[in-house]
């Protein structure tokens, strides 16, 4: 498995896109920490960028990489290698390089300027989101036959997780504002990895005091050890299920 992953990594590193991504994140992080006197504020700004950029770049890059390595996958299929192994090697290669770029671009500045629990949570959330959205993008690209459809569906998914989902949640909360919805919103948050990441970092910051009763409930839940475990487990589920589905589809696919 590692043998194949090495070739995938080699191919990715040579294309330099990942390097550009790391440099971009590094520039953004450093300039935010330079601009803001208060590191907590800088982390908050960085959080918003991470929540938008990390899923988008992870998904787009994964999809383009998948279609570009179609020849490689085809070549490997005629060799004595199982399909599961081929796709998992591809996933490992992409995920490792994307996480490495994130750790370099955001992890290093955060550890330099604000090495506290909030900073660490941000790093873990970003890495988790990278894993989740790489996995979702793999599912989309394995399912879609051509590149245009693959990238289109990935963009739609990104819109859904970053914008549409929040709108839907707002709609539901307004419609049922007469009922006690606090527990239900916990469930809703778990159904979107971006929200999950946002909440777990927000609660580490002082701004959570502004969120009222829901904020208090969140703090009670996500702030505890169970909450951290729950967030990690949900991220894991969000990684495993799309990847597993992608493997099942890839098993049956005609090349």
């Amino acid at each position: 498995m590692l043998k194949l992953t090495r070739y995938v990594l080699y191919d990715i590193i040579r294309s330099r896109v990942v390097l550009a991504y790391a440099v971009f994140l590094l520039l953004v992080s450093f300039s935010l920490f330079q601009l803001e006197e208060n590191h907590s504020k800088a982390i908050l700004s960085l959080l918003n960028i991470v929540l938008i950029v990390v899923p988008l770049i992870s998904m787009i890059f994964t999809t383009i990489h998948y279609y570009n390595s179609y020849e490689f996958i085809e070549l490997m299929l005629s060799q004595p290698l199982s399909r599961t192994r081929i796709l998992l090697s591809e996933y490992a290669g992409v995920a490792i390089s994307m996480i490495a770029a994130f750790l370099l671009g955001v992890g290093v500045p955060v550890l330099v300027y604000s090495p506290d629990p909030t900073g660490i949570t941000l790093i873990f959330t970003g890495a988790g989101l990278t894993l989740v959205f790489t996995s979702i993008a793999f599912l989309a690209s394995v399912k879609a036959r051509d590149k245009a459809r693959g990238i289109g569906s990935v963009l739609l998914l990104w819109f859904y997780f970053s914008l549409i989902y929040d709108g839907l949640v707002m709609l539901i909360l307004f419609a049922f504002s007469d009922y006690p919805m606090e527990k239900f919103t916990l469930l809703l948050a778990a159904l979107n990895p971006v929200d999950l990441g946002r909440i777990s970092i927000m609660l580490k910051l002082d701004v959570s005091a502004l969120m009222g009763y829901t904020g208090a409930l969140y703090k009670d839940f996500f702030g505890s050890n169970t909450g951290v475990l729950f967030t990690s487990a949900m991220m894991l589920v969000w990684t495993a299920i799309p990847l597993w589905t992608a493997l099942v589809i890839f098993q049956k696919k005609d090349m």
């Binding site: 043998k3 194949l4 070739y7 191919d11 040579r14 294309s15 390595s69 179609y70 020849e71 490689f72 085809e74 070549l75 490997m76 299929l77 005629s78 060799q79 004595p80 290698l81 199982s82 399909r83 049956k252 696919k253 005609d254 090349m255």
Partner: protein, 255 residues
């Protein structure tokens, strides 16, 4: 060595393979012939596990092919259109395949590598190669691991006459080593001196699988083209295709 039982495959509405039954054993050179879209490549890809059959079974060395991919270590495959990672260098491609298969250096068959003089282009990226050179790379890769089964999809298409001769000579050599060789080709004259059996496919159906002696005796013709033409004439639809082949051949020989 390869046993095919009731193999069926449908692509949307097109019946690509319709109840194929066959047994191929070592020492045979099977020519798969038939018009475009008759299911030759689909049959080959099904044997390789790249296309998943709807029903029916394929056994290689009396083991069913779904599941353990290790049976492919015994097969050398030369695709119709060799597609390789664009940025990979030719030398790197060969070293990668060697690395993936983990075979000792001594068991490698570098005959074609030498005869096609591919070593001189080892530092060229795959994307810069012409179609014919790619074919040479595909051929050299198929024979590289000295497999017991060779599957060659249109091996001589796109090769210059000299390289085509070299390849044919190589196939003859391997035939003498008692290997099983499957060839598809539209250039029937190329197959004449190689083949021991002919499998004729049309619209996904196997019309016949006969050894060349029987074929010659039944038709009273010595040349493969004419022998097949003789059989096909009895059927109007088939005759149309074979007449076209003869017409093209005639214009080639007497321009």
């Amino acid at each position: 060595m390869i046993r095919i039982e009731n193999l069926k495959k449908k692509f949307k509405k097109l019946q690509a393979l319709d109840d194929i039954n066959a047994i191929f054993s070592s020492g045979q050179v099977i020519s798969l012939i038939g018009p475009n879209g008759s299911g030759k490549t689909t049959l080959i890809k099904t044997i390789l596990g790249m296309v998943k059959a709807d029903s029916g079974k394929v056994f290689v060395d009396s083991k069913p092919i779904n599941g353990d991919p290790s049976y492919r270590s015994n097969i050398g495959y030369m695709p119709q259109i060799g597609r390789y990672p664009d940025n990979m260098k030719v030398g790197h491609l060969f070293s990668m395949m060697k690395n993936i298969r983990t075979v000792p250096e001594s068991s490698l068959d570098t005959d074609l590598l030498v005869r096609f003089n591919l070593v001189s282009i080892f530092d060229k990226p795959m994307r810069t190669l012409s179609g014919g050179t790619r074919q040479k790379v595909s051929a050299a890769l198929a024979f590289y691991f000295n497999p017991d089964i060779l599957i060659l999809d249109e091996p001589t298409a796109g090769l210059d006459p000299l390289s085509s001769e070299i390849l044919k000579e190589k196939i003859l050599q391997e035939k003498r080593k008692n290997k099983l060789i499957l060839i598809t080709s539209h250039i029937l004259s190329d197959l004449d001196e190689l083949t021991t059996h002919v499998m004729y496919l049309q619209e996904g159906k196997m019309i016949f699988l006969k050894d060349i002696e029987t074929l010659r005796r039944e038709t009273g013709e010595d040349k493969l083209v004419k022998a097949i033409a003789g059989i096909m004439r009895s059927d109007k639809k088939n005759a149309l295709w074979i007449d076209e082949v003869l017409a093209i051949k005639a214009t080639k020989e007497n321009p």
